[in-house]
């Protein structure tokens, strides 16, 4: 197009900036809590107090207590750590592996692409929960297993996005120029194509991080995560749901914690996606 070239500044719309700010505040808050909860929690989250079971929220216990008289607020704060121990490494692993797989499939095309994508399809159709149950049954509960299960179920998603972006770049003349001068294929992928699909990778990373938080909580809820009694949010929701009518705060506090972190991450992801994709 013969567009008029103008020094017009594409100012970020205010809505975007507010969303990003709110998201960042929420995520940073939970990250800080995950590290510093021993100094922030009013009680020991494991401390049982049989005389004060099911105390409603009030002056002594801001968010009340649960069936064992443990302080809900302290448990909620302490629960940030197990989630944030699992979600970031799982996301990182999924993004790195998925990006590599997507780049390989997209750059080579043909038979390589066909095989890689069919294998990924097979991974997708195999339910992640069953995989998790199998792995936990075989090797016991551990953070490593959680990370591997979550990462494994995300790799195909990341790989597909990166492959789609790679297919677009691969057709461009700069890639052909690189092939003409004989760049090896690893160099084509990492040096030529990767920098130009990095937006896709970053968008995937932020979206998958939100999903990973949710997945970690879900697995804990199902008893596949942290050992029983741990203050993990998913496990807490699971443990306390029997007393939902008697003491709803014991379920609501960890549930809201999960929701807020997922929403916060989603806000960050959406605003960054909007910004990167516009640029």
């Amino acid at each position: 197009m013969n567009a008029v070239t103008l020094p017009v500044r594409h100012a970020t719309r205010p809505r975007f900036r507010v969303a990003l700010g709110v998201g960042v505040v929420i995520v940073v808050f939970w990250a800080v809590v995950a590290v510093l909860w021993p100094h922030l929690a009013p009680y020991d989250p494991e401390l049982q107090d049989p005389l004060h079971r099911f105390v409603p929220p009030g002056a002594g216990h801001l968010l009340g207590t649960d069936q064992f008289g443990r302080d809900t607020l302290s448990r909620m704060l302490a629960g940030a750590r197990p989630v944030l121990q699992v979600a970031p490494p799982a996301t990182a692993l999924a993004v790195i592996a998925g990006t590599l797989v997507g780049l390989i499939a997209g750059t080579h095309g043909g038979l390589v692409d066909e095989i890689v994508m069919r294998v990924l399809d097979a991974v997708v159709v195999f339910p992640a929960i069953i995989a998790a149950v199998l792995l936990v049954a075989l090797s016991g509960r551990s953070v490593t297993i959680l990370v591997l299960v979550i990462a494994g179920s995300f790799v195909p998603i990341v790989a597909r996005s990166v492959r789609a972006a790679t297919l677009v770049e691969r057709e461009k003349a700069y890639v052909e120029a690189a092939r003409l001068r004989g760049e090896p294929s690893w160099s084509l992928m990492l040096r030529e194509i990767l920098p130009n699909v990095v937006t896709t990778v970053l968008v995937e990373a932020t979206s998958r991080f939100g999903d990973a938080i949710f997945a970690a909580a879900t697995l804990s809820f199902l008893g596949l995560g942290q050992p029983p009694g741990s203050p993990d949010w998913g496990a807490s929701v699971s443990d306390n749901r029997l007393w939902l009518q008697l003491a709803p705060w014991t379920v609501l506090a960890p549930a809201l914690a999960i929701a807020s972190l997922v929403v916060g991450m989603a806000l960050v992801a959406d605003s960054l996606r909007g910004r990167w994709e516009a640029s």
């Binding site: 003349a173 001068r181 004989g182 130009n196």
Partner: protein, 687 residues
């Protein structure tokens, strides 16, 4: 001059129009104090490089400015109606009844999900026709823009039409409303020479019928001169020259106009005879504060006065005005396009040494065939390129020239036939070529935007090429050879202009001292002023290194300028091949003749001879592929038997049923040779 009831002139009148954009650094004027008048039935051409305010002006005429743009002063009147004063409701009505705009990219102006007929009927329905009435009117509209078989066109979706056909449909839609003002914004950019000519002829034929004021915007002065009654040359938002098209083209009075003309190679002109004069530098950005003449920084005639004071628009002849302090010093009638003085198109051995003295062959293509699916794109092509020779390959889009070039480079689909380099077979697949072979064959791509990695700096791009192709110089040296400023080395491509990007791409292709560089339409995405510089660079590089080129273009003049030999491709076959001068001058293939006619027609009146519409699809049966369009067709022979390959003068072959003596020649020989005038002092002594 007719007048409207309130006494103002009929047609479009623009008075002192200034358009500014709000930017981070305050207001930036993109168009300053423009005044011109276009009478009904008159065609007014607006010419200038990208960024000179052409598009801004065209948008301002219909009040279609982007939200940050505004008319800060001046008036636009159409048949007495002050367009800028219209209330929003009246403006919508005025746009619907009086204005039609045709944009550059016809495809995007049509709704891809609707058939052409219903789309046009919708416009008619908006104008109050009944459903049945609209249905009847649509074929008439399509017939009016000379589309064959309107009923079948109306049933097609836009993507089933060629670019030229799409543009015709858009023009048909634009004319439905019987507009009073028709704005054509680069209507033929991106179209082939022959299709371009058809569209322009159409506009020419229709303009009397339309009776509207027509504003044609283009960066191609030759094109505008051919089609318009009057021409306005825009530079840096100012009208720098205005006059009758023939006067401006024949005797430009502004150095910018003259430079624009000198930048375009004329048909038959060879690089051995004349250097193209690119206009160095670039136009001022909108709002850039220029005290004096905006062209002064790029002008050879500029002095202190030019830097201080903006010249006034002053009369320079009959209805001819120019904004220059030194317009009297630039009266070089001979430097401009002269259609009256015919000269022989020479095939002087001294002009093209390698053409007369067959060089040892570097590249040999034998029986090359390439298919996409079941469509044969390149059909049994044999060609050769000598050492140090430039072979120009010309043809319309879809003729298979790009596929042929990519096959030589080792890209694209596999097929039959052989390619050999210095007698050694060149593997068809890039993967099977060894490092030495890869180094010998390099390529310059069409789109400068896509051919450079947007994430890499120029230095990285050149360094990678030097590393993989084992070049022996530094990136700085490589850039300097392509006339790239050293400070650009650390920029990424998005900071570079189109011409600079193409220079980087050329520098990269030369990193490993190649023997053959395949140039796939390297200048077709560039403005004429920039095109000249890139062509000149290619020419200089060729002269300095002795590299051979396979140079592809749909522009015959560009191919003729650079090439020693020319091959003309039509629907997958080479129909004409020989020394550049003889192919252009004839006797040549009727298709070559039509290309030459299309190319020359720009410089004078439109040619009435019509070669017919480009028929989509490929003929599968026997017979000459050009037969359906050929004015010299022999019925019963051309459409049933494959034409023989005739040889003329030893090294010029034509695939045609006509005997050599019957083949068309240029009726009016082409101007060739050293053009005196503004470019003389830049003449290369070695030429």
């Amino acid at each position: 001059m007719t007048t409207t009831p309130d006494g103002s002139a009929a047609g479009l009148t623009v008075e002192g129009l200034t358009v500014a954009y709000r930017t981070a650094r305050g207001e930036a004027a993109a168009v300053t104090g423009m005044s011109f008048h276009v009478a009904p039935g008159e065609t007014y051409g607006l010419v200038g490089e990208s960024g000179c305010g052409k598009t801004t002006l065209s948008r301002a005429l219909g009040r279609h400015l982007p939200p940050n743009g505004a008319v800060t002063s001046g008036r636009v009147r159409l048949d007495g109606v002050d367009v800028l004063d219209l209330a929003p409701a009246d403006l919508r009505k005025w746009r619907a009844t009086s204005l039609a705009v045709v944009h550059q990219d016809a495809g995007s102006s049509l709704d891809p999900t609707m058939r052409v007929g219903p789309q046009l009927a919708e416009i008619l329905r908006l104008r109050g026709l009944s459903r049945a009435g609209a249905r009847e009117e649509v074929p008439r509209m399509l017939a009016r823009v000379r589309l064959p078989d309107p009923a079948s066109i109306a049933r097609r979706y836009p993507h089933q039409l060629s670019g030229g056909q799409q543009q015709r449909v858009v023009i048909a839609a634009a004319l439905t409303a019987r507009p009073r003002l028709l704005v054509l914004d680069e209507p033929t950019t991106g179209l082939d020479a022959t299709v371009e000519r058809e569209i322009l002829d159409l506009i020419w034929m229709l303009r009397a019928e339309i009776g509207a004021a027509v504003v044609l915007i283009s960066h191609d002065l030759g094109l505008v001169g051919r089609l318009c009654d009057r021409v306005g040359v825009l530079y840096g938002g100012h009208l720098v020259e205005e006059g009758n098209a023939r006067d401006v083209l024949a005797a430009p009075r502004h150095p910018y106009t003259s430079a624009l003309l000198a930048a375009v190679p004329r048909l038959g002109e060879s690089r051995h005879a004349r250097r193209l004069a690119a206009i160095s530098g670039h136009p001022p950005a909108a709002g850039e504060n220029v005290a004096g003449c905006p062209f002064a920084p790029r002008c050879a005639l500029a002095d202190g006065l030019c830097a201080r004071t903006l010249p006034r628009l002053e009369a320079a002849g009959t209805r001819h005005e120019v904004r220059c302090h030194h317009s009297d010093r630039l009266y070089h009638p001979s430097s401009a396009v002269d259609v009256q003085t015919p000269a022989r198109l020479r095939d002087d051995p001294g002009l093209s040494p390698t053409a007369a003295d067959p060089a040892p062959e570097l590249l040999q293509i034998r029986g090359l065939t390439r298919k996409y699916g079941r469509t044969t794109v390149v059909d049994d092509v044999s060609l050769s390129i000598g050492h140090g020779q430039v072979l120009g390959l010309v043809g319309e889009s879809g003729s298979g020239k790009t596929t042929l070039a990519r096959a030589v480079a080792g890209l694209g689909p596999r097929g039959t036939g052989t390619i050999s380099l210095d007698g050694h077979a060149l593997p068809a697949s890039l993967r099977r070529r060894d490092a030495r072979t890869r180094r010998r064959v390099q390529m310059v791509f069409q789109s400068p935007d896509a051919s450079l990695n947007p994430s890499h700096t120029v230095r990285t791009i050149l360094a990678r090429a030097l590393h993989t192709l084992r070049g022996s110089v530094s990136p700085q040296e490589l850039a300097a050879r392509a006339d790239l400023d050293g400070h650009l080395l650390d920029s990424r491509p998005d900071r570079l202009s189109g011409g600079q990007k193409q220079r980087v791409a050329i520098a990269r292709a030369f990193a490993g001292e190649p023997d053959l560089v395949v140039c796939d339409e390297p200048v077709s995405a560039l403005d004429v002023s920039v095109q000249a510089g890139v062509l000149q660079l290619l020419s200089d590089q060729q002269r300095a290194t002795g590299t051979s080129y396979l140079f592809i273009s749909h522009d015959l003049a560009v191919v003729g300028y650079l090439a020693d030999r020319v091959a003309v491709m039509y629907r997958g076959q080479i129909v004409d091949e020989g020394p550049a001068g003889r192919v252009l001058q004839g006797p040549h293939h009727p298709y070559t003749a039509s290309l030459v006619a299309a190319s020359l027609a720009r410089l004078g009146e439109p040619t009435e001879q019509d070669t017919g519409m480009v028929q989509p699809g490929r003929p599968t049966g026997p017979g000459c592929r050009f037969a359906p369009r050929c004015p010299r067709r022999i019925d019963g022979l051309c459409d049933s038997e494959n034409p023989p390959v005739r040889t003329e003068g030893g090294d010029h072959t034509v695939r045609c049923h006509l005997g050599i003596g019957d083949l068309p020649r240029r009726a009016v020989p082409v101007t060739i040779g050293v053009a005196p005038g503004a470019t003389e002092e830049k003449e290369d002594p070695s030429a």
